[in-house]
């Protein structure tokens, strides 16, 4: 469970995230949405302990500021938008890095650490790829692999910054479906930054819409995805369509509907 109160982040002199308050219940999925530069990445980085912030962030009722790096890494697994993939590291070694916060000082992985990672590799479809070098993986495989590393941390909270941006239409659904299955299977609380509002509406329990560092609105997808709110925030002509009970967010060229309506 994540509880954020009056979160403020300044980068340079500029407040990039201002007075953001929301919470995510345990085992729920919150999607952070908003235009480019809204502060989504910065907010997620604050949750991961990578930037200084004002206000309070509580993870499972513990103040994140008071946690050691190691403790935080056991509570929060973070996947940046562009993770580092050392070309000549093997798939197996890469996933084992996720066990770092669980290792005893100066020790290597134990047999049980290796078992956790081996199970994850099997679960995520890398059964025969453990010895492959990262340079040889496709975009979709990398995406699943970095998820495997994050899951190896066995943290209750999973933060993903635009996990699907490098994937094609079908692989996006696959990836989000997988995240959802794992969320249910492992009881994870998930926060993702997603640009595709239609997909966000299908997978997330809650959407939080950021604009200029402030929380514009948050709630169930149907409450957040409204024509006027989105058109204002994204500075575009946006229309939300109900397609067989599923919200679909469409954007059009300026005046496209104006001419239609006039006829």
């Amino acid at each position: 469970m994540i509880d954020i109160r009056k979160l403020t982040v300044r980068l340079g002199a500029r407040p990039v995230v201002q007075d953001v308050t929301f919470s995510v219940a345990a085992q729920r999925w919150l999607a952070l949405v908003g235009p480019n530069g809204a502060g989504k990445t910065t907010l997620v980085r604050a949750l991961a302990g990578l930037v200084d912030f004002g206000g309070s962030v509580r993870i499972d009722d513990r103040e994140s500021r008071a946690m050691s790096r190691r403790d935080l890494a056991r509570s929060v697994a973070y996947v940046p938008q562009q993770p580092g993939f050392p070309a000549d590291m093997t798939v197996g070694d890469y996933v084992l890095l996720g066990r770092t916060p669980h290792l005893r000082p100066l020790r290597s992985e134990t047999a049980s650490d290796r078992r956790v990672c081996a199970d994850l590799l099997g679960r995520l479809g890398f059964a025969h790829l453990a010895g492959r070098r990262l340079a040889t993986l496709s975009g979709g495989e990398r995406q699943r692999l970095v998820l495997a590393r994050a899951l190896a941390q066995q943290a209750p909270v999973l933060l993903l910054d635009e996990p699907t941006s490098a994937l094609d239409l079908g692989r996006r659904i696959d990836a989000l479906e997988l995240i959802d299955e794992l969320r249910v299977e492992r009881g994870l609380t998930v926060v993702t930054v997603v640009h595709d509002l239609t997909l966000a509406a299908q997978f997330a329990d809650t959407l939080a819409l950021l604009h200029h560092g402030r929380l514009v609105t948050q709630g169930a997808p149907a409450d957040v995805l409204r024509d006027e709110v989105l058109s204002d925030t994204y500075d575009a002509t946006v229309r939300v369509v109900d397609d067989h009970g599923q919200l679909v967010v469409t954007s059009r060229r300026w005046n496209c509907w104006a001419t239609e309506d006039a006829q």
Binding site: V9, L11, G12, V16, T42, R45, A48, G49, L50, V51, D52, S68, R69, R70, L72, A73, R74, V76, A77, Y78, P80, P83, G84, F85, P86, D88, M89, G92, D93, Y94, L96, L97, T100, P101, L103, L106, S108, E109, R114, R115, C117, A118, D119, L121, G122, R123, L124, G125, F126, A127, A130, R133, A135, D174, E177, L178, E181, H244, G245, Q246
Partner: protein, 371 residues
Amino acid sequence: MAALPGTRPRAQRSDRTDPRTAVELAPPRLVRALIPACLLLVAAAALGVAVGSSHLSLLTLWHTVAGHIPLLPHRAVDPVDAAIFWQIRLPRVVLAAIVGAMLAGGGATYQGVFRNPLADPYLLGVAAGGGLGATIVIVSGGPAGLLPVAAFTGAVLAVALTYALGRTARWDTGGGTVGIGNTPIVLAGVAIAALFTAAQTYLQQQHVTTIQTVYGWILGQLTLASWSDVTVVLPYVIVAAVVLLACARRLDVLRVGEEEASTLGIDPARLRLLLIAAATLGTAAAVAVSGLIGFVGIIVPHTVRLTTSSSYRVLLPVSMIVGAAFLILADVAARTLQAPAEIPLGVVTATVGAPFFLFVLRSRRAREALS
């Protein structure tokens, strides 16, 4: 609700993620890489003690060593041969091994800390500082015993300055991250090295009579190696080696980048300080007794990386052993190729090392690894 057109059944989507698939994850293959490295070291050491202006046969070597081990059968050995072995050859071979191990281990460590394949143990000013310290003693005609102390002090001072200046420089890493980022330290190292080298060159030019001695030191040599040199450097190098090896796994974590490493529970800034401190003490001690031997810290770790593994848990220990063997062999070449004259060790490491390294670089395995 009716199924949407084009909807696939769920089971079909998840079939490639079968939880029952068994995977085995083996621990790092350290032993498999260590065995050939150790054999190489033993062979190099045997060659190192046997070869020289007076040749000692392997049989003589055997009886010399066996004579000091209780219960082993041995013949009496010519006391001159015994003295050559114990007082001249062996300390020289041992010192070459210690220096080679330290330079190779330091190079591998810096390549990991700075995530830069061109990093060598002299990156932060050890060479420039050591060179200035040694030059001051040589041109001022100070006692020879002071030379290692001055070189060591100069080297440590240069790196301390680099770290202090580089660390305080504010640097935006792009994500507004606090206190992370290597670039200012590397740049401060460039500046400090330039400054110290300028001072050293100036002193050297002002004292033409000692220029050959200064050059001899700068190009590296083990000519006067003795057991006392070994006892001087060994404690520093042991401490450094223990710290570097203990941090090997954390260096592996650092390979994904400092920021991700810190979300995995590592403190990159503290790790960097610890490793710089350890590598500097060890390298400065090595430089103090052997001068500036270049190239070892670059080619040995890369050769090991290209032929065994890129994991620091394999790379660091294997590099140290191979570095020891490499410098013993280089020193054999240095003292035999133009005997009775000696070729500067730094010249040998480059002329022997560079072609060999190019050969490794062009191997099929390397091309795969670097692709």
